[in-house]
């Protein structure tokens, strides 16, 4: 018995320590931890486009080939070496992988996180380890509403913006609006999206809006037959959905085949990722959002033209919003570092990053919320229209950042329910 325990313990120790001492730290590169979904259902629509964008932008930063005004080779005078980590496995595992990145691999900064659960769990660890971390895609407004962070930044708006703007859009652009129905995934993203949308609509219309049905199918359910029937039975003027990825695809295919999309006005708050693959199934008039001024809604600029062309050329499809989110996070990080100067300490980079305003391929980003750590951008919706078989957009409405983002220091739901005081719309 004595030997047994000793042997086992030795084997365990040997395997753990031996197997894990992978770290080799080259001195003269900027190690950047990149965390996105490389497996699972979120990898196709989000993780891989984001990784592709990271590859493209990092290469351009290293070569110094990004269009003006972004200058200089590399970041902090160093070449970026990316360290990729799969985001799969949930928050507990991701906090562990974050520690590995920081302490084992010795990264200089971390850019990542698509899942809102991860975005809530990681900041506390980032603060503990004092490591600069840029959240690049997750939607939950809770990150900077529930706490203040020093080392954590988010370079895109929260999902609340998508849905507040969606409510504005249908209120202004759908004639004789009386009722709405919703189909959203049964998890935080879906619940929050639907809540922000309906609450805003109630405020905008003084409560004069009827909700015919609210459907919350399981995430990745794939079969929406019964939900589509329910939407047909409880017909509404507008159907709101925040579906993403494969679920959007499945819903679009099944709803289109049953005529729901032709008979009803549907607003897809994150529908842009489905355009490239399923555009032909979306009828004219469908309202599409891209979680910001991205993809077809991106403003004209040299940077955007570069990003669109290079991305499409290299990966075969145009960049979607996760790719833009990633590009913004990387460019924001580089600009903050540039502003702080070569050899600046993390604290100096943070000071430079706080309140930073910069132009990314998707237009202007203002780090104006969450004490300078949370971005606010404009939000765009448009109606799909085919011109000679090509997908274009009409009725494009751009909502300024201060119209659809809660002001500094407010909590989203409270702000909406208080009647959105201080919102500056056109």
């Amino acid at each position: 018995m004595k030997h047994s325990l000793l042997t086992a313990a030795t084997v365990a120790c040997a395997m753990t320590t031996g197997g894990l001492s992978l770290s080799a730290h080259a001195a003269d590169d900027y190690k950047l931890g990149l965390v996105t979904f490389l497996s699972g259902a979120a990898s196709g629509p989000f993780g891989i486009p984001a990784k592709n964008a990271a590859d493209l932008v990092i290469e351009a930063i290293n070569d110094g080939t990004l269009p003006a005004p972004i200058q200089g080779k590399g970041i902090d005078g160093r070449q970026i070496t990316p360290v990729y980590v799969d985001e799969a496995g949930g928050a507990t595992k991701q906090t562990s992988e974050f520690r590995n990145l920081v302490e084992r691999d010795g990264v200089d900064a971390v850019v990542g996180y698509i899942s809102s659960g991860d975005c809530l769990a990681i900041p506390a660890v980032a603060e503990e380890l004092k490591k600069l971390t840029v959240l690049f895609d997750c939607g939950t407004p809770r990150v900077f509403e529930e706490a203040d962070y020093k080392y954590v930044f988010r370079t895109h708006s929260t999902a609340s913006m998508d849905n507040i703007a969606a409510a504005h859009y249908v209120n202004d652009n759908v004639p004789e609006l009386e009722s709405v129905a919703g189909i959203n995934q049964n998890y935080s993203w879906g619940h929050d999206s639907w809540r922000d949308f309906t609450e805003t609509l109630k405020v905008l219309r003084d409560g004069d809006i009827e909700i015919t049905t609210e459907q919350f199918p399981k995430l990745f359910a794939g079969q929406y037959g019964a939900e589509i029937s329910a939407l047909q039975v409880n017909s509404a003027d507008v159907i709101h959905t925040s579906f993403w990825g494969g679920d959007t695809d499945a819903f679009v295919l099944q709803a289109a085949a049953r005529g729901l999309l032709a008979d009803n006005q549907v607003i897809f708050t994150a529908g842009e990722t489905a355009l490239n693959s399923l555009g032909e199934h979306l009828p004219d008039g469908a309202i599409i959002g891209a979680r910001g001024p991205f993809g077809p809604f991106a403003p004209d600029s040299e940077l955007n033209t570069w990003f669109q062309t290079e991305f499409t050329e290299r990966f075969g499809t145009p960049p979607t919003f996760p790719a833009y989110h990633m590009a913004h996070a990387l460019i924001g990080l580089k600009l903050a570092q540039d502003k702080a100067g070569v050899g600046a300490s993390t604290e100096e980079v943070i000071t430079a990053f706080e309140g930073l305003e910069f132009e990314g391929p998707g237009g202007k980003v203002e780090m104006s919320r969450g004490k300078g750590h949370q971005a606010a951008t404009e939000m765009v919706y448009g109606r799909l229209e085919r011109v000679d078989g090509e997908i274009t957009f009409t009725d494009i409405v751009r909502y300024p950042a201060d119209c659809v983002n809660p002001p500094e220091g407010t909590e989203t739901v409270e702000w909406i329910q208080a009647g959105m005081p201080g919102a500056e719309c056109n």
Binding site: S4, T16, G19, T95, S96, N100, G117, R142, E146
Partner: protein
Amino acid sequence: MKTKSLALLFILGLAILAGGLLLPQWMSYLFTIAMGKGLVVLGLVLLMRAGLVSFGQGLYYCVGAYVAGMLTQFAEVTDILLILLASISVSVVIAAIIGLLLCRYREIFFAMFSMAFSMILYGLLVRMQVLGSTDGFNVANPSLLGWAPGPEGASDLVLAVAVFLVVSLGILAWRYLNSLSGYAGEAVRENEIRLEYLGGSVFKVVYVKYIIAAALAAIGGTVTALVSGHVDPEMAYWTTSGEFVFIALMGGTAHVAAPIIAAVLFEALRTYAFAVAPYTWQMILGFALLAIILFMPSGLWSLVERFQNKKARKTT
């Protein structure tokens, strides 16, 4: 032999603790998580000794974690002892109720039914917006008897508590397994009817084991929640429970130290697979699992036994 082994367990515990405090933080974090999971698996192993495999230990793992989260976040109770006490009580109450129903089942039905219960908890938590739905919420740093070590020291505190728990509960579990009711568990696995003939109550044996396993899982969940600083419903999802069965099988049921060691190795293997093959880590885990089942049917512990040249125990 007993006392020697006990002493050794203590030394091992101290060694892990010392090692954990000296190791780079990411490793000691990994160790703490492994200790938490090891406790859950220890409970599972107790059940497996009686021939019952639960695919729903995630239920209590999640309950323990959420109790810790809710106490620190909403009730501002941060004392680690109070938290542990609370999560044990809550899980024991739940297990006592569910156990009444569940302990009538055996084999695959026990496995599936226990999974159903943990999926119900998952569904409930997903619906609860106040608890952050699928995103979960953060857990504040724990304290011990009025001493609050702050964010830097919190993980060391949890590590120390976890190691203490693992060693003491491991000894208790070991003594339990070597007691009359412990052996009754094996009798349940081998032949229930004979146990009843001998005057034992099969239901009672299984029921008690189920409750103990639930309490251990809740403690494991609490440890995990306190060290990772975040809880979410994923902890009750069936894949989490499946992972515990994976670890249990990896270690084997021959000794109480097996699940703990297996948990450490599993965490190491997974993080290693993650770092080496970000695209194919699942495949590596799959092959590792197959290799263990094929070549070490009694788990890694059989390596130890083989090394000792002892007669291999018959296990499930």
